[in-house]
Amino acid sequence: MTSGLFSKFNRVGAWVLLLFLVTPALIAIPVSLTPKRFLSMPKGEFSLRHFEKLFTSEEWLSSFFQSGVIAVSTSALATVLGTLCAIGLWRVSSRYSELVRAFLLLPLIIPQIISAMAFYRLWIPLGLLDSYAGLILAHTILAAPMVLITVSASLATFDPKLEQASKNLGASNWTTMRRVILPSIKPGVFAGALFAFILSWDEIVVTLFISKFSVYTLPRRMWNGIRENTDPTVAAAAVVLIAITVIAFVITSIMSRRSAKSQAQ
């Protein structure tokens, strides 16, 4: 019976751990509903006034818009780059390609504060500081390795005979890529796109270094909101931030499940 006890303990442990991980994020929800003017837990009384403020404030709306543009662009760029890299490395697969792969994963391993300083130094002479292009580029560099990982995982299960079959039937490399390889690794591509989106959507460290006035993302505005005053609008923004992340996650899961299903049936 020890194993039964152990597995029960394990299951309880897993839930406790999960609760421990998500509670800090969920705290924002009640706080955002407080009727008070400062960050506090509501006591029996709820109000949507901070959401109202969030959605009527030009500053907050502009930050939403900017974060959206940057995250979507980053996701698109990183997905294309990461997918191409993954396919290239998969195709040449040799000892050297493994070295190249390790090198390409560096942005994930290097502490973000160090990347942030590097971007700051580099973006000054390039004139990219405090611009959409600068942020999108920096986020893309951080996010592309994630796409590389998820797409490589998909490629590892791809049957190389399918590629041979396609060529044998007369398809060029490009046609084979478009009609056989890409559809087979779709789940990995979707997952990579999602991770890239989320990374950019809540990125703060690099953003703090390389943006100032003209680009003011949502995490950046929240950061400032917390530091300068205790306006609960920040909590409302956090709730919306989480909601959009969850929605992006759900959409991607549905899409990759649908593409997996279309193969199985």
Binding site: D159, K161, L162, Q164, A165, S166, K167, N168, L169, G170, A171, S172, T175, R179, V180, P183, S184, S259, S262, Q263, A264, Q265
Partner: protein, 333 residues
């Protein structure tokens, strides 16, 4: 059905394939005739797939040349060779329907949609899969997937069709059925078939000619009958069917088990050998008798149960008889 091809003879000239210093294919020369059903038969690791992959263009040739209708194709990439191929495990595109799989070769050649539809319908009929056109490969049985792979490879009327152990994944009963269908399709389309297998029964029943391979080289080439009746060495005789090997005057002879006559009474005047029965195994259509011959060898005899009703028992003394033409003299090796 498919319009008969004007082309389809293949010349393999002194072809070798080296993986590092290992010779997987060793100096193979072969003339494959247009429209013939040629089988590459050999044990696992004998270089069959490697040779087929060089013909298909997926592996470079280390030495020698391969030509289609006398024109070298050594430098033509796989996608330009126009050879059909049925892969081991089929390699059907999992995200496409049966119809899209079969029509793939025509669709990448940018043929008009109406032509593709018509041709795919024709192929679906050829392999008897009309009702399954809109299914995905995962919804088909192994035998049906095998037929889709065949239809896909034949759809663009290739001059040569390469098949790598296409029946390997099917169970024994289905395999015999699909063998018949495959032979029938070969007769109807007139394409040159190059068929790889390690199953000797499959090779015997389907091929016009068989190439027996061993360690990357050719042992013997011939029709199934030639190879069975006139094996040139022990390897061929033992690999294609069963054989006893008899030493006589310093020469080795191959003797098929069904070509030996077995008499229960001892000291028969024409007896070539005598011995005692070690075991008798009943197989329905025949029984296999293992005899310990007096010269110390072990001889296997297949006898027709229907004509020889007298029962043999272990320990019985027997005489072994055969005619001169039953024993085939072998070369060394």
């Amino acid at each position: 059905m498919a319009e008969p091809n004007q082309t389809g003879s293949l010349q393999v000239r002194n072809v070798s394939k080296l993986f590092g210093t290992f010779k997987a294919v060793n100096d193979i020369s072969l003339d494959i005739r247009k429209g013939e059903f040629l089988t590459l038969l050999g044990p696992s690791g004998s270089g069959k797939t490697t040779l087929l992959m060089m013909i298909a263009g997926f592996l470079d040739i280390s030495e020698g040349d391969i030509a289609l209708d006398e024109a070298s194709i050594a430098n033509v990439p796989a996608e330009k060779r126009n050879f059909g191929m049925v892969f081991q495990g089929y390699a059907l595109f999992p995200h496409m329907t049966v119809r899209d799989n079969i029509g793939y070769a025509l669709s990448v050649r940018k043929r008009p949609a109406a032509e593709i539809t018509a041709r795919v319908d024709e192929m679906l009929e050829l392999v008897q899969l009309q009702e399954f056109a809109d299914r995905k490969p995962a919804q088909l049985s192994g035998g049906q997937q095998q037929r889709v792979a065949l239809a896909r490879a034949l759809c663009f009327a290739p001059p040569v069709l390469l098949l790598d152990e296409p029946l390997g994944a099917l169970d024994k009963k289905l395999r015999v059925e699909v063998q018949e269908q495959l032979k029938d399709i070969h007769r109807r389309v007139g394409t040159t078939f190059i068929y790889v297998t390690h199953d000797q029964e499959e090779a015997l029943s389907m091929s016009d000619r068989i190439v027996i391979m061993r360690d990357g080289a050719i042992e013997q080439v011939g029709t199934p009958k030639e190879l069975y009746e006139r094996p040139i060495n022990q390897f061929t005789a033992g690999f294609l069917g069963k054989s006893n090997f008899i030493q006589h005057n310093g020469k080795t002879f191959a003797l098929r088990p069904e070509k030996i006559d077995l008499r229960a009474s001892a000291s028969h005047p024409d007896a070539r050998l005598s011995g005692t029965v070690r075991s008798v195994t009943y197989f329905g259509s025949m029984q296999r008798v293992i005899v310990d011959a007096s010269d110390g060898t072990e001889i296997e005899v297949d006898i027709d149960v229907w004509r020889n009703s007298e029962t043999l028992r272990e320990g019985d003394a027997v005489d072994l008889l055969w005619t001169d033409d039953a024993a085939v003299e072998l070369q060394m090796g």
